[in-house]
């Protein structure tokens, strides 16, 4: 039997899970909705930690996958919005398509604007749910095969992902007849599963997000502890050495890149359910870099740490930005916090926690002996 400190990782995960599930007991609907959004950000933190901390690949375009997830879900929900049924057709047609339609075009989803047929599959809401996760995974798989197959690494991966997210953002904003451009997709309906509507402010929706986050964290943690995860960490520390040991390094990197993309897509999908809109601002560079900040402050080497970092920073930010005197100062504080973290706490808050626990264990040799005897 190991003591609580011996297995502190497990207890940390378990603690967070209990905390998240117990939260609806204390918060009101507004607060729960807000926390649910931050839990989505927590998933993003975990996704960044998975590639950056464990694979050494800094993806500066994680927003791309989040954006795909968000848009896929939003397309599905947009067709369920009552405004989509108001446009004078039997089948739902998004209102913005009417503004963008050529004069005389039929008010049908198939052909109202060029390319509007792409929306047809989204009449079935599960298309949105599936595409939100599968498309990021596929795209990341292809990107990974090309990028890692070429043995491109380090900052070059960052520049490619960054250029790609900016490119996609331009296209999304430009393709107004399909995406409503800069305004994004708003006025969405609700996700309905077996007759249950996911009202963004209801506890059910909060639980949907909370359980998803717990699963994501737990499964990611298990994944990095597997043999594949260990090999991945070896490639991070020296990919040449791992290659010489006979491992298919690009395959491992691609796999984790794709998993991380899937998590980001899931986060985007859930975010839309909670916040009821999708916007090209998800594809802005600053958002993708902000995710990296969350992970860095929380601890890039820890999936849990990165997720908690994301949630905490956002909670503090929300509080501070509602204090009028601190609005501008807050950004300066974030900048400073970040510089200090990178210099003095490269492992982030979770690194600090790890060190603290390690020190505690040193002070309690009896515990350590017991632990060793137990193994």
């Amino acid at each position: 039997m190991a003591g609580p400190l011996a297995n502190y990782r497990f207890w940390a995960y378990a603690g967070l899970a209990v905390l998240l599930l117990a939260l609806p007991l204390v918060g009101d609907e507004f607060w729960l909705n807000r926390v649910a959004k931050y839990l989505c950000y927590g998933m993003l933190g975990a996704a960044v930690a998975l590639t950056w901390g464990y694979a050494g690949v800094l993806n500066l375009g994680q927003g791309l996958f989040f954006g795909i997830g968000a848009y896929a879900m939003a397309m599905g929900l947009k067709l369920k919005s009552y405004t989509s049924l108001q446009q004078g057709s039997d089948q739902p047609v998004p209102d913005f398509m009417l503004w963008n339609a050529q004069p005389g075009a039929p008010t049908e989803l198939c052909c109202i604007t060029p390319g509007s047929w792409l929306w047809l599959p989204f009449q079935w809401q599960w298309t949105g749910v599936i595409v939100a996760v599968v498309l990021p995974v596929l795209l990341a798989g292809i990107m990974g095969r090309i990028i890692f197959g070429q043995r491109i690494s380090g900052v070059f991966v960052s520049i490619i992902t960054l250029a790609l997210v900016l490119l996609v953002r331009l296209v999304v904003v430009d393709a107004q007849p399909l995406t409503n451009g800069f305004n994004g997709l708003t006025d969405l309906g609700w996700l309905t599963v077996a007759g249950h509507e996911f009202d963004p402010y209801a506890k059910g929706t909060y639980y949907l997000v909370a359980v998803a986050l717990i699963l994501v964290l737990g499964l990611s943690r298990i994944l990095v502890a597997t043999r594949a995860g260990t090999i991945l960490q070896a490639t991070r520390d020296s990919d040449t050495r791992a290659l010489y040991l006979g491992y298919d390094v690009p395959a491992y990197q691609t796999f984790f890149f794709a998993v991380s993309a899937g998590i980001a897509g899931l986060a985007g999908m859930l975010y839309v359910i909670v916040s009821e809109f999708a916007s090209p601002s998800f594809l802005e560079l600053s958002f993708s870099i902000t995710m990296v900040v969350w992970a860095a402050v929380g601890g890039r080497g820890s999936i849990l740490g990165a997720a908690v970092g994301a949630i905490l920073i956002n909670m503090i930010e929300a509080r501070v930005s509602e204090t009028e005197a601190l609005v501008e100062a807050w950004k300066a504080i974030i900048g400073l916090l970040f510089v200090v973290t990178v210099i003095y706490l490269p492992k982030g808050l979770s690194g600090l926690a790890h060190d603290g626990i390690a020190r505690l264990r040193m002070r309690r040799p009896a515990l350590r002996l017991k632990e060793e005897a137990g193994q």
């Binding site: 800094l58 090309i146 990028i147 070429q150 043995r151 491109i152 380090g154 900052v155 070059f156 960052s158 520049i159 490619i160 960054l162 250029a163 790609l164 900016l166 490119l167 331009l170 296209v171 904003v173 430009d174 560079l285 600053s286 870099i289 990296v292 900040v293 860095a296 005197a325 501008e328 100062a329 950004k331 300066a332 974030i334 900048g335 400073l336 916090l337 970040f338 510089v339 990178v342 210099i343 490269p346």
Partner: protein
């Protein structure tokens, strides 16, 4: 067609203005300086302030801006970057934090706005710098009208590029820098003061950004967040050209600028910009080391 080629040249020169300083800091030192755009911004604000407080014109404020941003660069190197050598991605993150700090410093007027003190020229508002009368309007050359200020920028960029080349390849400092690029340990062993050289290099790169800022102030709005997009473009140029290759940076900026102008003219500006991103991605995928490069480090 001549018009378009000239516009392409002008776009190229603006890209190169930003990329020159980055080529020096990133190429020579392995520092991804995300605050480089903010150095441009500080250079532009130096011109604004010099106009308001000292009555200096745009051209007269160029050396001043170089000095101010070089000193700022030196301070950043001493306080932050120095601790991060060898941690490439960490420099990216730390300097991104610095970038936010610098933007906020201008917005909050170095914190004085909390005390109710307002300095003309700072704050979150938009500023502008008048262009000298001689550089306004157009110049007629070979039967075409050219924008005088853009010609000035192209000429200044050429001067700066040559000057940077001269510093890197014709001075003792440049020789040390190149030695450090090839092999820092060996350079140190040969008695080169690596830390001092790095500090000077960083100051040089920042100073170049400051000059770029003054020139940009002549045709762009000066605002605290003006540098944010510039740095991304600058990096794409440097990476496309090949890290550590000044010639590569010059060539890449020429290529991307002309390409942007031609595509934008043939279709529209949005596609022009998207095409530039696509080219950058393509180049990195096909030639990860950049178009022009040599084996080093």
């Amino acid at each position: 067609m001549v018009d378009i080629l000239f516009i392409g040249l002008s776009l190229s020169s603006i890209l190169l203005l930003v990329a020159l300083g980055l080529a020096v800091t990133y190429g020579a030192m392995g520092i991804i300086n995300m605050a480089h755009g903010e150095m441009v911004m500080i250079g532009a604000y130096t011109a604004v302030m010099a106009k308001i407080w000292l009555g200096l014109g745009l051209i007269a404020s160029i050396p001043l801006a170089f000095a101010v941003t070089a000193l700022a660069g030196l301070a950043i190197e001493r306080l932050v970057v120095r601790r991060l050598y060898g941690r490439l991605l960490d420099t990216l993150l730390a300097t991104w934090g610095i970038a936010i700090l610098l933007q906020q410093a201008i917005r909050l007027e170095f914190g004085l706005s909390f005390l109710g003190i307002h300095i003309a020229g700072l704050g979150s508002g938009l500023q502008n710098v008048p262009v000298p009368a001689a550089l306004q309007g157009t110049v007629r050359l070979l039967g075409h009208d050219f924008n005088a200020y853009r010609i000035f920028i192209v000429a200044m960029t050429a001067v700066l590029a040559v000057a940077t080349w001269a510093v890197m390849y014709r001075t003792a400092l440049g020789m040390k820098v190149r030695a450090i690029i090839r092999n820092p340990q060996m350079a140190a062993a040969c008695g080169i003061a690596v830390a001092r050289t790095n500090a000077l290099t960083f100051a040089l790169g920042s100073g170049l950004a400051g000059v770029a800022g003054v020139l940009m102030a002549g045709f762009k709005t000066v605002a605290p967040d003006m540098g944010a997009t510039l740095v991304v473009d600058g990096f794409m140029v440097v990476v496309t050209g090949g890290v550590g290759s000044l010639l590569g940076t010059v060539a890449a900026s020429g290529l991307l600028g002309e390409f942007n102008a031609l595509v934008a003219m043939a279709s529209n500006d949005i596609i022009g910009r998207a095409a530039v991103f696509a080219v950058v991605i393509g180049v990195i995928l096909l030639k990860p080391a950049g178009l022009f490069t040599f084996k080093g480090r």
